[in-house]
C-alpha cells in the first residue's frame, strides 16, 4: 500500500548569519494510513523541523517528500496551503487558538478557508466540538477555558476537516500530567476511529500510547520500531 508520508533523504539547513545549522541530516521515514507514531528525541534534535515539513508548513532544503504519492517539494504556496487546509490537522504545544474568537469560530476557521457554506460549517464544527466533549463550551473564548479545554478545541479544529493525518507537536507539553493523560486518551480514541496520528513528545509515558516510535538525534533517525509496554486504549495511566 502507498504510504501517506514518504520521506527520502531529506535535509533541512538553516543559515544563521554565517553559520549553517543542519536541523535534519539525511532523514528518511515512511508512515502509512492509520499508524500511530511517536517521534522522540532530545531538545534540538530536529523533531519540530520534521513535523513542520510533514505538515507542509516548511519545505526541505533537499530530498524527496511525497504526500499521498504527490511530490510536495514541487508544490507552490497555494497548493501547500490547500494541503494544510484539507489533509493535515495540526495540534501545537501552545494550542495556537485565535484569542479573540470563541471555540466554535476557531474550529470553523479551516472550513471557512475551505470555502464551505455557513450552515454546513456550523454543523461540522459543532460535531467536532462534541467529539472532544466541549459542546457546552462552544461560545467561550480561549481565555475562558482551561489548558486542557483549549487543547481540545485545537484538536477539534484539527479534526474538523477530516484530514489524512493529525500532527501533534508536544501536545501535552503545556499541560499537567493528569490533563495530559486525558488528551492522550482523546488521541487514542481518534486513532481507534481510523485516524493517522503522528505526535512528538520527549516523555516516554506519553510515547507509550503510540504503536510505533521514531527516535531522532542530531537530525537523523536513531531508532524506528514498535512501542514496547504500550498503554492499551481505554486504560488511562
Amino acid at each position: 500500500m502507498q504510504p501517506v508520508i514518504n520521506i527520502k533523504n531529506i535535509k533541512k539547513t538553516y543559515i544563521m548569519g554565517t553559520v549553517e545549522v543542519n536541523a535534519l541530516v539525511d532523514l528518511s521515514v515512511q508512515i502509512h494510513k492509520n499508524e500511530y507514531v511517536a517521534i522522540m528525541g532530545p531538545s534540538g534534535s530536529g523533531k519540530s523541523t520534521l513535523m513542520n515539513i510533514i505538515g507542509c508548513l516548511d519545505t526541505p532544503t533537499s530530498g524527496l517528500y511525497e504526500f499521498n504519492g504527490i511530490n510536495v517539494s514541487e508544490m507552490n504556496d497555494n497548493e501547500l496551503a490547500k494541503i494544510r487546509n484539507k489533509e493535515i490537522g495540526f495540534v501545537f504545544q501552545t494550542f495556537n487558538l485565535l484569542a479573540r474568537s470563541n471555540a466554535l469560530h476557531n474550529v470553523e476557521l479551516p472550513l471557512i478557508y475551505a470555502g464551505m457554506k455557513k450552515t454546513v460549517r456550523h454543523e461540522l464544527a459543532e460535531e467536532a466540538l462534541r467529539h472532544v466533549k466541549l459542546e457546552d463550551r462552544m461560545h467561550h473564548k480561549p481565555n475562558e477555558l482551561s489548558g486542557g479545554q483549549r487543547q481540545r478545541v485545537a484538536i477539534a479544529r484539527a479534526l474538523v476537516t477530516k484530514p489524512s493525518i493529525i500532527l501533534a507537536d508536544e501536545p501535552t507539553g503545556n499541560l499537567d500530567s493528569k490533563t495530559g493523560v486525558e488528551i492522550m486518551g482523546l488521541f487514542n480514541e481518534l486513532h481507534a476511529q481510523g485516524n493517522t496520528i503522528i505526535l512528538v513528545t520527549h516523555e516516554e509515558d506519553i510515547a507509550r500510547h503510540a504503536h510505533r516510535v521514531i527516535r531522532v538525534r542530531d537530525g537523523m533517525v536513531e531508532h524506528d520500531g514498535p512501542v514496547e509496554n504500550r498503554v492499551l486504549p481505554g486504560v488511562h495511566a
Binding site: G55, L57, K82, R84, N85, N96, L109, Y113, G115, M116
Partner: protein, 411 residues
C-alpha cells in the same frame, strides 16, 4: 477559486477588521485623522464647485446670456488700471438715447444706476435696499417675471412718475399681510406708488437679488444721485447668435457719441457673460486647486498613517497570521484580510469626514446656492476605500509573505 469562497473570505475579513479596529478604538480613530481631513476637504470642494456652477447657471438665466453691459469699468481686470477707468467720462442719458435711436440689432436697451436707501411703509421699514433706476425695458432686458401687478410703463418711465416695482423680499417685509399694489412707500425720503412685485429670484454670491426695488431712471437721477458714477447701459441683443455684431454696432455708436478719435482705444467697456463664464471658471479653478492640494496632502498623510498602523497591526498579529496559514489560509487570503482591514479603517475615516462635512456644507449654502451632492458623497467613499487599499497594500503584502513557521514562533 470559486466566487463563493471569496464571499466567505470577505465576510471573514470584515469580521476580523471590526474585531481588530474595535480592540484599538483610539488608535484607529487617530490613524484616520488624515483621511478625515482629506475627505472633508474633497467633499467641501465638491460642494463649493457644485454651488459655483449652480450660481453660475442661475446667474446666466437671471441676467440673460444675451445682454451687453456698457460701463466705464471692465468687469474683470486687476486693480492696476483702476484710476484710468475711474477718470473716464461718465456714461449718461444722452449716450443712452443715441444707442436707443441708432441701434438696429438690439431688442431692448435700458440704462441703470443704483443707490442704497432705506424703504418704509407705515411702521414697517427695511434698511440697505438696493434702489435701481431703469427704464420700462428693464424687465424685458433681464427677463424678469412679475409676481403681481406690472412693471412700470414707458409713459411712466418717460414722465418721471413716482412709481416703484418691489423685489420679492422687499414686498414680503413691508407687506406681510396686505397687497402692496397701489400702496405708497417711502424710498429714502421720497414717496413712490407700488405698481408691481417681481417674482422671487434667489441669491447670488451672497447678494439677495430680491432685496431691491426699481424706479424710473430720470426719477432716480433727480432724487438719489447726480450720476456721479455714471450709468450702465444694458443692451439685449435681438438674436443671441448675433451678439458679436451687436457688440460691434454698439461700439461704433458709443465711440461716436463719446467722441473717441479713430485709432484711440475705447474709453468704455462692453462687458458680457462670456467674461462671467471665464471668471467663474477661474474661481472654480482656484477652489479646485486649493481643495485638491489640501485633499492630496491630507490623504497622503492619512495614507502614510494607515500604512504605518497596518504595519504595526501586522507585526502585532504575526502569530495570528501563522495560525491562519497553518490551518490553510492562502497568501491571497491573508493579503485580502489586511487589505479589507485597511480599507475599512480608511472608510471609517471617510464616513467621519462626510459626517463632519455635512454641517459645513450648510455653511457654504449661506454663500452659494448648494447642497452636498450625492455624487460627491459617492466619490468621497470611493476615494477613502481606494486610499485604504493602496496604503494597506505593503503591510498586507508583508503579512501574506510571512513564513508560517517563523510566524508561529513569534511571541
Amino acid at each position: 477559486m470559486r466566487l463563493a469562497d471569496w464571499g466567505y473570505e470577505i465576510k471573514e475579513g470584515l469580521a476580523i477588521s471590526f474585531h481588530a479596529i474595535r480592540a484599538n478604538k483610539m488608535r484607529s480613530v487617530l490613524t484616520t485623522l488624515g483621511i478625515v481631513i482629506g475627505i472633508v476637504s474633497v467633499t467641501l470642494m465638491g460642494t463649493a464647485i457644485e454651488g459655483l456652477s449652480r450660481a453660475f447657471n442661475e446667474t446666466v438665466s437671471k441676467i440673460g446670456a444675451d445682454v451687453l453691459y456698457v460701463q466705464k469699468f471692465p468687469w474683470f481686470d486687476g486693480g492696476d488700471n483702476w484710476w484710468k477707468y475711474r477718470n473716464r467720462k461718465n456714461i449718461d442719458l444722452r449716450q443712452y438715447k443715441m444707442v436707443r435711436d441708432q441701434t438696429t440689432l438690439a431688442a431692448a436697451v435700458t440704462p441703470t444706476a443704483f443707490a442704497m436707501a432705506p424703504i418704509k411703509y407705515r411702521s414697517l421699514s427695511s434698511d440697505g435696499i438696493f434702489v435701481i433706476g431703469a427704464n420700462d425695458q428693464y424687465a424685458t432686458t433681464f427677463g424678469l417675471n412679475m409676481e403681481m401687478g406690472r412693471f412700470f410703463s414707458q409713459a411712466e418711465s418717460n414722465g418721471d412718475r413716482p412709481v416703484v416695482v418691489l423685489g420679492y423680499v422687499v414686498a414680503e417685509k413691508l407687506f406681510p399681510s396686505e397687497s402692496p399694489l397701489g400702496k405708497n412707500v417711502k424710498v429714502g425720503t421720497h414717496t413712490f406708488r407700488v405698481v408691481g412685485v417681481v417674482a422671487k429670484q434667489g441669491s447670488f454670491l451672497g447678494m439677495d437679488l430680491d432685496n431691491r426695488v426699481v424706479i424710473p431712471i430720470t426719477n432716480f437721477l433727480q432724487k438719489f444721485s447726480n450720476n456721479r458714477r455714471g450709468l450702465s447701459l444694458n443692451v439685449k441683443a435681438a438674436d443671441i447668435n448675433d451678439l458679436e455684431n451687436t457688440k460691434e454696432e454698439l461700439r461704433g455708436i458709443l465711440r461716436k457719441s463719446r467722441g473717441v478719435k479713430p485709432g484711440v482705444e475705447d474709453d468704455f467697456a462692453i462687458n458680457q457673460q462670456e467674461m462671467f463664464i471665464q471668471t467663474f471658471n477661474a474661481i472654480g479653478g482656484v477652489v479646485a486647486g486649493i481643495g485638491l492640494f489640501i485633499t492630496a496632502l491630507s490623504l497622503f498623510v492619512g495614507a502614510i498613517g494607515i500604512m504605518n498602523i497596518m504595519f504595526v497591526s501586522v507585526t502585532e498579529r504575526t502569530k495570528e497570521i501563522g495560525i491562519r496559514k497553518a490551518i490553510g489560509a492562502k497568501r491571497s487570503t491573508i493579503l485580502f484580510q489586511f487589505l479589507i482591514e485597511s480599507a475599512v479603517l480608511s472608510l471609517i475615516g471617510g464616513l467621519i469626514g462626510i459626517v463632519i462635512s455635512y454641517p459645513l456644507s450648510l455653511l457654504i449654502n449661506q454663500i452659494l446656492p448648494t447642497s452636498m451632492p450625492l455624487s460627491v458623497v459617492a466619490i468621497a467613499i470611493f476615494i477613502s476605500l481606494l486610499v485604504g487599499v493602496i496604503s494597506g497594500f505593503l503591510p498586507a503584502n508583508r503579512a501574506s509573505k510571512m513564513d508560517p513557521v517563523e510566524a508561529l514562533r513569534y511571541e
